[in-house]
């Protein structure tokens, strides 16, 4: 422990851990409190974005419905997408990273605690700016990727300005978090915690942070150009005065595709922690899971234009981006196969966390398969911008990210709060959610193939369209019930959950080597770190990992 220098900024803050008062949270620079606040922010926006999704499904439950005006519908689907990506997904994953990475590497805090707090509050502030637009003359209504010239005057109102400014602000916050993760992992590791021994979650947050600092900066470049057009009359994306609407798409997706991986890599990390622990086996093929992360990160920077095959870029570009996008299936497949192989020959414990992780394996694979179909250019020409693509990315972002994050929630809740979540309610949550999710989104594949475009506020009464949409809407309602169960579980377990103890799952990484919740400086004492599973080594002196020399 003595080798780890304490963080001077953190040391300056007086603190009384047992006393909960608002000011101590707001002024906190402690990575655990900041992590929790990130996650609370994300949950609040999950509820808001979820309610928006309910409105969308309500309006689409039958053909020619008039629950929402087209203007309201367009604002709500724009807000749903923007909220779920920038205010739910990223803060959730950054929050988990904030809480867990220092613990996993045996550090006392992040490298820059005050920068950490700044990042959090920028995200919160950005979220408030976005939602203020509802009061200030209308929310953004140009979709979450704000294609020009639709997102420019005279085609859209001030909502888009709030959208752009909000995302610039949250983007700066995310870049701050990305820098912090990178420097933390590089400089704050405990003695013995070499880069090759990093827990896979910490590794994936680390790799992911490189994507964050590049991709979000690219997005900010695009957004300042958009705002120059909107506020100062510049010409970047105005076709009438010589600008190029396709340039916007190139820059936006140069951010947008890495963003998809930003939203899924840390989730991969969670799966890579949870499946081994509940299979009672080490992760299968650690070096391959770790290296495939780097491969995904690199490739993700060179696939953006697969969002633009319908633009008519020409044969050469279409083939190039189709090929690079297909390639990304290889490292992703390597991960899925390794996780599945980790189950094999194990001793599986079906906790709620494990159920969600196994659900992830199947649901994410479905999203991955349709993903390969989208990389095959002619299929993209047929199915892009239809409900098929809506189904695809919800399988990736809900079936993938949300399932994994939920697994993570059940897995680390005891560490964060010191109490176990109710497994009984958890299992209800899982099964109801599994039914609701698949019911909502599986039929959307079919709707897309039938010719239903995405982002329509209503649709004609064609054979089958009403029925399938109704099934989807009912599925949405069932999903909402599942999440209600989750909220009940959360509130119930916070008050009445069984005491967790230090290591309720008999897990092997360092966050389980301290109390639940951990003390302010995280560790009184660290176990010797001689392998990737220090706590396995402690528990099994007869068969420690470091003897295997992997």
């Amino acid at each position: 422990m003595s080798e780890i220098s304490l963080v001077p900024e953190a040391a300056d803050v007086p603190r009384n851990v047992s006393k909960v008062n608002l000011l101590s949270w707001i002024s906190s620079v402690d990575h655990k409190q900041i992590g929790i606040m990130y996650i609370i922010t994300a949950i609040v926006f999950l509820v808001v974005g979820g309610l928006e999704a309910m409105l969308i499904r309500l309006q689409l439950a039958q053909p020619n419905a008039q629950v929402l005006s087209p203007e309201a519908y367009n604002q709500i689907f724009t807000m749903h997408g923007t909220t779920m990506i920038f205010l739910m997904g990223m803060p959730m994953l950054i929050g988990f990273g904030n809480y867990l990475v220092p613990l996993m590497i045996g550090a006392n805090d992040m490298a820059f605690p005050r920068l950490n707090a700044l990042g959090l509050w920028l995200v919160v502030f950005g979220g408030l700016v976005l939602y203020y637009s509802f009061i200030a003359g209308g929310a953004p209504d140009a979709g979450w990727f704000s294609y020009t010239p639709l997102s420019e005057p005279p085609f859209s109102g001030t909502g888009v300005d709030y959208w752009a400014i909000s995302i610039i602000v949250t983007g700066i916050g995310s870049i701050a978090a990305g820098i912090n993760f990178i420097v933390t992992v590089l400089t704050m590791r405990a003695p013995g915690m070499t880069m090759r021994r990093l827990p896979l979650f910490a590794w994936m947050v680390f790799v992911n942070s490189f994507l964050i600092i590049f991709a979000l900066a690219i997005l900010n470049g695009a957004l300042v150009m958009l705002e120059a057009d909107r506020l100062l009359g510049a010409r970047f994306f105005h076709p009438i005065v010589g600008g190029s609407p396709v340039l916007w798409q190139h820059i936006f997706w140069a951010f947008g595709h890495p963003e998809v991986y930003i939203l899924v890599l840390p989730a991969f990390g969670m799966i890579s922690e949870i499946i081994p622990v509940f299979s009672r086996k080490p992760i299968f093929g650690y070096p391959f899971v770790a290296a495939s992360t780097v491969a995904i990160a690199f490739l993700s920077m060179g696939v953006w234009a697969h969002h633009m095959f319908a633009v008519g870029m020409g044969f050469g570009w279409d083939v190039f981006f189709g090929a690079s996008s297909s390639l990304i299936a290889i490292p992703t497949g390597v991960k899925v196969f390794n996780w599945t192989a980790t189950l094999w020959g194990g001793s599986l414990r079906f906790t709620t966390a494990m159920l969600f992780a196994m659900g992830f394996l199947v649901e994410f694979t479905i999203g991955g398969i349709t993903g390969v179909q989208f990389a095959l250019v002619p299929l993209d020409w047929a199915t892009t911008d239809s409900y098929f693509v809506v189904a695809h990315f919800h399988y990736v972002l809900v079936g993938g990210t949300i399932f994994a994050v939920t697994a993570g929630f059940y897995y680390w809740f005891p560490k964060v709060t010191g109490r176990m979540m109710s497994e009984r309610l958890g299992k209800w949550h899982f099964w109801v959610n599994l039914v609701g999710f698949n019911m909502t989104f599986f039929v959307q594949h079919i709707l897309g193939l039938m010719g239903m475009p995405r982002r329509v506020y209503t649709y004609p009464d064609l054979p089958g369209w009403g029925l399938l949409n109704q099934i989807s809407s009912i599925g949405g309602l069932i999903t909402a019930v599942a999440w209600l169960i989750f909220i009940v579980n959360l509130v119930y377990s916070l008050r009445n959950g069984k005491p967790a103890g230090d290591n309720p799952w008999e897990a092997w990484t360092l966050e389980w080597a301290t109390t639940s919740p951990p003390p302010h400086y995280n560790f009184d004492q660290l176990p010797p770190i001689r392998s990737r599973r220090p706590l396995w080594d402690v528990a099994h002196p007869e068969n420690p990992d470091w003897k295997h020399d992997h």
Partner: protein
């Protein structure tokens, strides 16, 4: 600790590279897109701007001297070199303002040509970075006057120095692309 702060700044600058790359790419993308109207060759005056460019480059040198002074515990040298850096940076920003005023007088604005759009956005964001740097340098200068910028806090100056050199390098790229290249 120095290493930590320097690393943090380096990754921040990596992120900035991505940001400026987009603005530069947008400029390159629209070269030749307009049949008539102003362009870099007709609207910009490389000779005058070269003078301000020299001021900015010189400020990198003076800041490096300031850093050397703090490392050797020379408070006097630190203050003089910091002040020189701030003055040189201010000269550059003044020059840029003067150049902008001239362009706008000649009816080259952000809204009436693609060249104007890309030129003002790119140089504007560079200028904002110089101004941010000047504000931070000013704070350091005040701290130096108060005597609290000592060897123990040398890493603060070292970190700012990285940023300042980066802003310089971005300008060298901009100057080469916008002022020199059209005349080659």
């Amino acid at each position: 600790m120095t290493e930590k702060h320097k690393l943090g700044m380096l990754f921040f600058l990596a992120s900035e590279v991505a940001f400026f790359s987009m603005l530069i790419l947008a400029y390159l993308y629209f070269i030749g897109a307009e049949a008539n109207g102003p362009n870099a060759a007709t609207a910009l005056d490389p000779a005058t701007t070269a003078i301000f460019t020299v001021a900015l480059l010189a400020s990198s040198f003076t800041l490096w001297r300031a850093q050397k002074s703090i490392e050797h515990g020379k408070q006097g040298g630190l203050r003089i070199w910091l002040l020189a850096t701030i003055v040189l940076g201010a000269i550059f920003i003044g020059g840029q303002g003067w150049e902008w005023a001239g362009l706008i007088r000649d009816k080259v604005t952000i809204s009436n040509s693609l060249f104007g759009t890309t030129f003002f956005t790119l140089t504007g964001f560079h200028g904002l970075h110089v101004i941010s740097g000047l504000i931070v340098l000013l704070i350091l200068f005040i701290l130096a006057l108060a005597g609290s910028l000592n060897q123990a806090r040398a890493h603060a100056l070292a970190t700012v120095e990285l940023y300042w050199h980066f802003v310089d390098v971005v300008w060298i790229v901009i100057f080469s692309l916008l002022y020199v290249w059209p005349h080659l």
